[in-house]
Symmetry: C2
Amino acid sequence: MRLATLRDGSPDGRLVVVSPDGGSCAPAPYPTLQSALENWANAAPQLAAVTTFPDALDPEAIIAPLPRAWQWLDGSAYQSHGDLMNAVLGIAKPETDLPLMYQGTSDKFYGPGDDVKFPDEALGIDFEGEFGVIVDAVPMGVKPEQALGHIKLIVQINDWSLRTLAGPEMKTGFGWIQAKPPCSMAAFAITPDELGNDWRNGRVCLTLKVDWNDRQFGAANGEPMGFGFHELVAHAARTRDLVAGTVIGSGTVSNADFREVGSSCIAERRGIEVIDEGAPRTEFMRFGDTVRMVAVDAAGRAPFGMIEQKVVKA
Amino acid sequence: MRLATLRDGSPDGRLVVVSPDGGSCAPAPYPTLQSALENWANAAPQLAAVTTFPDALDPEAIIAPLPRAWQWLDGSAYQSHGDLMNAVLGIAKPETDLPLMYQGTSDKFYGPGDDVKFPDEALGIDFEGEFGVIVDAVPMGVKPEQALGHIKLIVQINDWSLRTLAGPEMKTGFGWIQAKPPCSMAAFAITPDELGNDWRNGRVCLTLKVDWNDRQFGAANGEPMGFGFHELVAHAARTRDLVAGTVIGSGTVSNADFREVGSSCIAERRGIEVIDEGAPRTEFMRFGDTVRMVAVDAAGRAPFGMIEQKVVKA
């Protein structure tokens, strides 16, 4: 099942069920994705029962499948990304065996085609291609094996980052505020079964193709997460209940053979340059630059649709 | 104007306007505080026009004035608190001239009388008495002097913290997840004019009385913030628009003469013990312990009402 949200002037938009070919849609029996997630046991079979799609799906009308969420927690579950980021930021590897995770702003997710506004190019504008899951209500203290059953939907995310601000904010120990403005979501939120065998061990085993200004920049596979999403959910829920509709991210998709497959963010390439050449060479994004992200399976199918955005001056 | 929210089974509760004596209330012309904040230019005069209060205000029915928010950003604006926390956590003073701020979980704020649940006493259960402001929609890049006008309501907050987890999470640079479960709010959200001259320079110049297990623990005054709330709002909005209903906290209220006035959290007292005696002596909270927090003015009046809670095992 694939779900999308259409622009209707309200903050949460209007939920639709998308046809298997992605070209058409039908009104959902729940007005918004948040309302469906709060009643998922009933909503899931009702949404799945929608099998006729009378309306053409206008790509221009698609906003983020969950345009705002009560909670957004982003992990950093790819070790090869973490190592490179430490290199580029000049930060020691964190002394922890637990997942790394930060709480991000959740009141807005950009839609897949929205222009993304930043105040200043000098802030080090960067994309971060990643996957995310959306859970129903999760009780405090959930175990990873139970957490897997709370993962109701999977999404593809661009976690926009401002690198000039990121290092100094990390050094405060308080995490990121200014360095992490709102993220973007690709067009479709999908149920795990849509991925078939590409959803395994709590991981999205698809290749995330990232193009910067129409040139391929990365094509890392989602499989080698150091922690699966079910483990990230359990980590998040250790001392709190998770509200239905909480979004949990993987962190930047990254593979150990990053020199071959490329990267899902600029900072990672700069980390490689620091290691290989002693200093970063690739600059961050400029106003007018574009980024396109699409996760594809072995057959070339793109279950989440696409993110295709331009950065603009606020 | 003082506003409260009453339990009605819905996540956002039902907004009421509270009488000057705090004993009675009237239904508000907006169903929830969030809905009023999204239309504040219209809502404020309509709420202020309510001058008859036909209903007795049942303290048991009061939940947090904003039971959930789209965004919660908490500063750490009292230098004397920061210095003591660095001492107790063994963390160097952050090298920044900017406000310290973290993004916290906002999908739930406990009400003033709710029991507060934690999984384990060994996590270092601690209270943090502070003040907070609620803004209407704030545009990215707002200046502090403009931000002052976006502060529509003031609240009193208990920022629950799990100290055993806090230090290790800080060292990751990602900020707090497990160490910062949901906060609590005192009974009333008030307009700044309610404080008269005790609201000045973007600071709540009231004494925050904190009792732990019915014994006075602290009575620090809110005035000596290193940054005013307007500066915290501007910091938060540097790279993002702030959604209406964003809550911004002061951090633990603390005064330089903490040995005389006491502290608003246990960790701070432990920091004093580390400095004075070489090691902390005061233990953190146990299940069954209570904390009461009330901000009072020179006349003994308590504009926010009270927080009075018990910690229990989840």
